[in-house]
Subunit: 301 residues, 2 copies
DNA sequence: AGGAACTATGTAGGCTACCTTCATGGAAGT
DNA sequence: ACTTCCATGAAGGTAGCCTACATAGTTCCT
């Protein structure tokens, strides 16, 4: 029973094809195929079966893939216990983040990591809410967000920790009739025109909540991801938009007004596979991110 | 964090020297030494330190050795889960046993294993009560005994299952003055002469109990292990002896009388390391041994 | 229908890492 | 002082994992 084989099966279960596993593990598909054969020979079980142009795990293969997490976690816990004997945690921690959350949290993290033996390696991406969970395969830690609840979809079996709750404010062009209000309610927004995000992205659920509260549909003009671009188009009068408070700096053409009476906030959360989270350095980074998040909440209260 | 390295450390912790580990794992001492160096390099920790002409685990090495069992158990459990999907358990199960318990239990085991895919590989040895636990490193299963309680000394952290309780009877030469009694008490035995076992062997605790009950010391003539030899010497009038009921067959020169009023029985137990016990075939063998033990208890009631 | 793009998998060869053999040096016991 | 037992080093064989390249099947697009 080789740990290597269990991890291989886990990769196959998640990624679906040998080619994808090969790319993720920086090997050739041939190597992965041979390794799989070796596993089948040593275990004496058929682990995969061909299906259309790819393959699929058998029931036994799926079983072993499911158990791989437990094994990896126990092993990582032993490593963490050793680490904790050796003094300060250290090493490389790879972080994947959505850009806005990274912009808000990473400066605080980097400042707090000064003087420690921990190095971080950051990559950013912008995904629908459900896409973040899968990224935990590629990074020790994924900074994701969720507007509906505190746990993003697809995070079953993952460690999930809320780093901060961030208000989502309404951005309006300076000359807008609602710009003079100190705060806005759902009913104020009836008939307004919006720059929205693609369906499945967290901010959309706030617009849905406004529509549910008033019973009136909102008009969605564009579907954009990048918040800087959104801000510029708000200033240009293309429509209103929801923007996260921590990272939206004053823009000459726009004002930001809080939305009250509807759930208008997102949770910034850290996601990690249990085996990665067992590493002491990873846990430290999550702690420091939560510190940075608490600081932001206080600052923007 | 290689499983192989954890298991290596566990072996070192138990066996003390690299030479002993090398012999137990069928490798040369040089290979073991190199492997240990590799582990130290990969983990970045000193795992052993030289002491007199051998070596000793450092605190970190000891920590990892202690955790090896947990890792091995999780891994073996996964293997067992797979096995249980594949139908009947099978494979090789190595058993170490003390001779008398083996004689009593193994025929019943072998009969019950007919038609299964399980092969057993038996080796016998006769040890002091505390010696059996260490043998679980060399065998999947160790059949041991204990007279004081149901768990032999040194079995901490091991799976321990009672297979049968076996009465220890008093063997007397046919012409002995006590041979006419149907059963004997401690006070009957004051002043008698005994063929005993080496100190630390289970039967001795019964003699100690008799002495404690009467306040009178018993005379110990010889210290023998082999029960056949003991029987012959009892017949020759060298003294009385305690003999296990299940395997002591009628001998022309001796009679067997039950001893009442003192704890005169031994527990036959199966010992196994948790990681070995996780294997389904091993568990089956223990179940069948317990069946065989129950049959013996009924037969000799 | 034919080709392009994808899938897995086979073969040949390189390279790494494990093991063995042989040799060395230190510590303890006689 | 000699023997014995310990760990460890250097040199070489071998097995297993990987890459590169070639092959065959499936799906999709034109």
């Amino acid at each position: 029973m080789e740990v290597r084989h269990l991890l291989l099966l886990r990769e196959i279960a998640v990624r679906g094809t040998l080619a994808a596993v090969a790319e993720a593990t920086h090997r050739t598909p041939s190597a992965v195929s041979q390794q799989l054969r070796t596993a089948e020979r040593e275990l004496g079980v058929k682990l995969v079966e061909p299906v259309s142009r790819g393959l699929r795990l058998t029931a036994e293969g799926q079983l072993l893939a499911d158990r791989a997490d437990r094994v990896a976690t126990v092993l990582a816990e032993v490593g963490a216990e050793l680490e904790s004997r050796l003094g300060e945690p250290g090493g490389q921690v790879s972080i994947g983040t959505l850009p806005s959350a990274g912009e808000a949290l990473l400066p605080g993290l980097v400042r707090r990591l000064k003087g420690t033996a921990i190095d971080v390696d950051v990559q950013d991406f912008d995904l629908s809410e459900a896409g973040f969970a899968a990224k935990t395969l590629d990074h020790d830690l994924v900074i994701a967000h969720s507007a509906a609840g505190d746990v993003p979809a697809g995070a079953e079996g993952l460690v999930c920790r809320v780093l901060a709750h961030e208000p989502l404010d309404v951005a309006l062009p300076v000359g807008h009739r609602l710009a003079s209000r100190a705060e806005l309610t759902a009913s104020d927004l009836v008939g307004t025109r919006w720059i929205a995000v693609p369906a499945g992205f967290p901010f959309d659920s706030v617009l849905l909540a406004i529509e549910a509260a008033t019973g009136q549909p909102l008009q969605r003009r564009l579907r954009l991801i990048d918040n800087r671009l959104v801000e510029a188009l708000v200033a240009a009068g293309e429509g209103l938009a929801l923007l996260p408070r921590f990272t939206t700096r004053p823009h000459p053409g726009t004002v930001l007004r809080p939305l009250v009476g509807v759930h208008a906030r997102r949770a910034l959360v850290a996601l990690a596979r249990p085996d990665h989270y067992a590493r002491r350095a990873v846990r430290s980074v999550v702690d420091l991110l939560a510190d940075a998040g608490a600081e932001l909440e206080k600052l923007f209260h």
